[in-house]
């Protein structure tokens, strides 16, 4: 399998991807490099590649790089990771390491657990987390691959608890915590049925129905809730479900994330 990639100005990438998609049955990947450029890439076998002329005509640019990659999507390098808030970088074990200037988390996507850093809700939760003063207990509710819990542990929260109702996510969180050398207690828990742990800082990147259950069951010790996993049209319902809390920060255009603070 080959990976071909080209770097384009951000304002040209959307049209290029739109034109490339019909050429590439396996699809097109976009990776915002955060510096006004977007890396556009795709995977294909050598005998099924479009011609360079076709790629040039669609993307409006030359300079495609080409490299051999594993056939298994879970074993492939996809890009360069995601930098959040200029302070944190999340990458897969198959992406190259950074230059050491920012805190780096290595998160594997094995078993497809949510939250590898690829989804905008994960990155927005990390951005809101970076705005908080670290310290004290932290709980990641609906932890997926554990990225929020591991980030919290690296930033200075302690102890850190991560819960998810999916055993594969709990196992992935444990592996990722070990990989990153942090202490995270990961447990299987159904948040729709059991009250959330009483940590002062919670992160909940979960569906609307789970937010409704959480909002009705928070302990008095909870001060901040980073809430995400919903879209703009659902935001009012989510925020309204956390009675006694007020939104103090909000991120996102389609997908949303809010930081809720207990009203004094």
């Amino acid at each position: 399998m080959l990976r071909l990639a080209v770097t384009l100005p951000a304002d040209a990438a959307a049209d290029a991807v739109d034109a490339l998609v019909p050429l590439l049955p396996r699809g097109v990947h976009e990776h915002d490099l955060g510096d006004g450029r977007v890396e556009v890439s795709f995977f294909e076998h050598a005998d099924a590649l479009p011609t360079r002329d076709a790629l040039h005509a669609a993307a409006g640019a030359d300079g495609w790089t080409e490299e051999e990659v594993p056939d298994d999507p879970l074993e492939r390098r996809h890009g360069r990771g995601w930098v959040v808030g200029d302070r944190l970088r999340v990458r897969s074990p198959h992406d190259p390491p950074g230059d050491g200037t920012v805190l780096e988390l290595v998160i594997e996507a094995a078993a497809g657990a949510f939250g590898t850093g690829a989804h905008p809700t994960t990155r927005m939760c990390l951005e809101l987390l970076l705005d908080l003063e670290p310290g004290g207990p932290f709980a990641d509710l609906g932890c997926g691959a554990g990225v929020l819990a591991i980030a919290a542990a690296r930033l200075g929260w302690e102890p850190v608890l991560a819960v998810d109702h999916e055993p594969a996510s709990v196992a992935a969180t444990r592996r990722n915590a070990e990989r990153n050398g942090v202490a995270v207690e990961a447990l299987e828990l159904d948040l729709a049925a059991v009250a959330p742990p009483p940590a002062p800082t919670l992160a909940a990147n979960v569906p609307l129905a789970v937010h409704a259950a959480l909002g009705a069951a928070l302990a008095p010790a909870v001060i901040h809730v980073i809430a995400s996993g919903f879209v703009d049209s659902e935001r009012e319902a989510v925020v309204g479900g956390y009675a006694g809390f007020r939104p103090v920060a909000r991120l996102g255009a389609g997908w949303q994330a809010v930081l809720l603070e207990r009203a004094t």
Partner: protein, 144 residues
């Protein structure tokens, strides 16, 4: 070229495995299925002169991008050209379903497409199974 002719639709989507066939009484049926890698934007349906439907699985959610290829056409159930749908784990024991309508004001009759997109996540392999179908027919106004 009629937008309901299956031959150009079949040719346009052949590279993507899109099947096109005529319907009894007139109309066009399109279908396509793919196993898609996480974060890859793929074309699922292409009806020349009418519409294109792209989808991007992103962890356990879907981003759907609709495109009109006919002036004055309009989409239902997808008010923007990029719409996010959550299909969290609870919903993936059966395929998650998103449905759309598309209307093109063509002469002599408008054309209506009913589109269904179903998805199932294969977490072990990091793939999403997408199935898209469209039924496209003319809407004949009752002149009585």
């Amino acid at each position: 070229m009629s937008v309901l002719d299956p031959a150009p639709a079949g040719a346009a989507g052949a590279r993507h495995g899109q099947l096109a066939s005529g319907l009894p009484g007139g109309g066009l049926a399109l279908s396509c299925h793919k196993l898609v890698e996480d974060r890859a934007r793929v074309m699922m349906l292409l009806a020349p002169g009418l519409f294109r439907l792209d989808v991007r699985p992103l962890e356990d959610t879907l981003q759907v991008m609709t495109r009109s290829l006919s002036a004055g056409a309009r989409w239902g159930s997808a008010s923007t050209d990029a719409t996010d749908y959550g299909h969290k784990a609870e919903a993936t024991r059966e395929p998650a379903v998103a449905e759309f309508t598309f209307v093109a004001e063509l002469e002599p009759h408008p054309v209506l497409a009913r589109i269904a997109l179903r998805s199932t996540v294969d977490r072990e392999r990091g793939l999403t199974h997408l199935v898209a179908q469209a039924i496209v027919r003319e809407v004949v106004r009752d002149e009585r």
